[in-house]
């Protein structure tokens, strides 16, 4: 665009970029909108040809059915499993991260092994665990899945928290030691408060990862502890899917994640980028 005044060139670029950006956002968000829309539609609207683009009115019938049938309980199961496992993963993982960060425990080898655990395929791990759990009688129990989720979340927590801890100036801890604190107090009083935002972000992501899990739940739950992710697949049929149920259940399982992530937006860039990029 030689010869076109500078400011005009930048303006047109901006408008163009904005249009494309909005277009992309629409494309990426549309399927989610569709899911929500179906959950609010009447059967007539769902099975309409040509498709109805938005429900005439928002009706909660589909949701009511889920609660009536007790299917909504699965969301509660997910909640219990995810929160408890996240809680323990954060505790065990953070202190382990501290050990790695400050004491270089196990050297590089341990670090490598821990990170590599995150990369293992769930199905390869779940299968022997399943056999083991059958023997223990832990299939379809809360404790079984909590232990599994906690263990599986640990590599991520350790990796992330190690990064956050390494950013805390050593002088703060040294000064606390000189002031007479023992090591546990240093951890509790100095390190954890400083790492607060990191703890937050990591906890959110750990929670979301286990909340969204399907494969482990599929293999290791039956009826007692079924999570919402498995429940959704029960509505798949050969020809006739229970569309309204699929949509409503999915939305029920998705809203908590949306809310959590939306409120904690700012802290999350680092979590998503797996600590690859600082800040």
């Amino acid at each position: 665009m030689k010869g076109v005044p500078f400011h005009r060139r930048k303006e047109t670029k901006l408008v163009l970029r904005y249009l494309i950006a909005t277009f992309l956002v629409v494309i990426f968000v549309f399927p989610i909108y569709w899911l929500f829309a179906i959950s609010f539609k009447t059967p007539g609207e769902i099975f309409a040809f040509p498709p109805v683009w938005y429900p005439k009115s928002i009706q909660f019938n589909n949701y009511a059915v889920l609660f009536k049938d007790g299917d909504a309980k699965t969301v509660g199961n997910s909640l219990v499993l995810s929160s408890v496992s996240t809680f323990f993963a954060m505790i065990f993982g953070t202190i382990a991260a501290y050990s790695l960060a400050r004491f270089k425990t196990g050297g590089e080898n341990l670090g490598v092994w821990i990170i590599s655990q995150r990369m293992m395929p769930p199905v390869a791990i779940a299968f022997p665990i399943f056999l083991f759990y059958v023997w223990l009688g832990w299939v379809d129990t809360y404790i079984g899945l909590i232990i599994l989720y906690t263990a599986f979340s640990l590599p991520y927590v350790i990796w992330m928290m190690r990064g956050y801890i390494e950013e805390i100036p050593l002088e703060l801890e040294e000064s606390a030691l000189i002031d007479g604190c023992n090591r546990w107090e240093v951890l509790w009083k100095v390190v954890l408060p400083m790492a607060r935002s990191g703890l937050f972000a990591t906890a959110v992501f750990t929670f979301v990862f286990s909340w969204n899990d399907f494969l482990f739940a599929l293999i290791l739950t039956r009826t007692e502890v079924m999570t919402y992710t498995v429940q959704v697949t029960h509505y798949f049929g050969g020809q006739s899917n229970f569309w309204s149920k699929i949509a409503a259940m999915s939305v029920l399982g998705t809203i908590p994640v949306f809310i959590t992530v939306a409120t904690l937006q700012r802290y999350l860039v680092r979590g998503i980028s797996m600590g690859a990029v600082k800040g």
Partner: protein, 292 residues
Amino acid sequence: MAAIAHPDRNFKYCLISPAIFLLLLVGLFPLIFSLVVSFMRVTMLETDTSFAGLVNYVQLFHDARLWQSLLHTALIMVIALPIELLLGLAMAYLFLDRLPGRQLLVSLLMLPTIISPIVAGATWRLLFDNRYGPINQIIGWFAGHPVPALWTVNPGLVYPAIIFCEIWQWTPFMFLILLAALSNVDRSLTEAAEIDGARFWRSFRYVVLPAIFPVMSIAILIRGLDLFRIFDIIWALTAGGPGTMTETISVYTYIQGFRQFETSYTAAIAFLVIALLTVIVTWAIRRMGLAK
């Protein structure tokens, strides 16, 4: 990055022990257990726990369906990963400079990544429905007549369907990482390159790419491994079908273990996969200095 001068030995081991214990449970135990069971002949019908040598492993080599599943997995990886990378990069450049409402737009773009993959698959299953799905409706607009494409059944369409869904869900992930990486590139470097006469591609190749390469490699590694393990999306859309056309290694393993109950054989597959991945991943992690 100094370690504390007087390490309290007990303290540091004490801190790390619960985590190590759990990790061994999930990391080492399945490996050993699989190995042991894979040397037996445990199936749905018989529970023969006597040592049977490498019979299962031999069977692995002759199992065409297994190799097929690896091929399917590779196919998905090779197609989806570059697309996610390039699309994510293009989007990152789009959002790099100031843009009104950028914060909101980026948050919206994050949505596909934070929902459960099974929900993503379920959503696209609804979208792809041959009669009532909006995708076919939109295609119909362009074609001028109704197009009841059977996305989840038609052999020619199942892979596009899976890959669409996968790219839809995970390109924003790439986008976010690359956006952060691009933002961290030293402005004065690109300015110096511009004054030196470099146009976009030259500047990208010599200034930007080297700067974002470490971050990009991590992203590629993570996405690559996730693609290798892909299960949820496929299960939701096609369950490995039609027939075994879209069976990936994870799907095949699941079916062998929990539909066919070929316990020992599945154990062999599990062991092999874990062992192989450990080697590859360990190499990659060391190479990129991630554990430092």
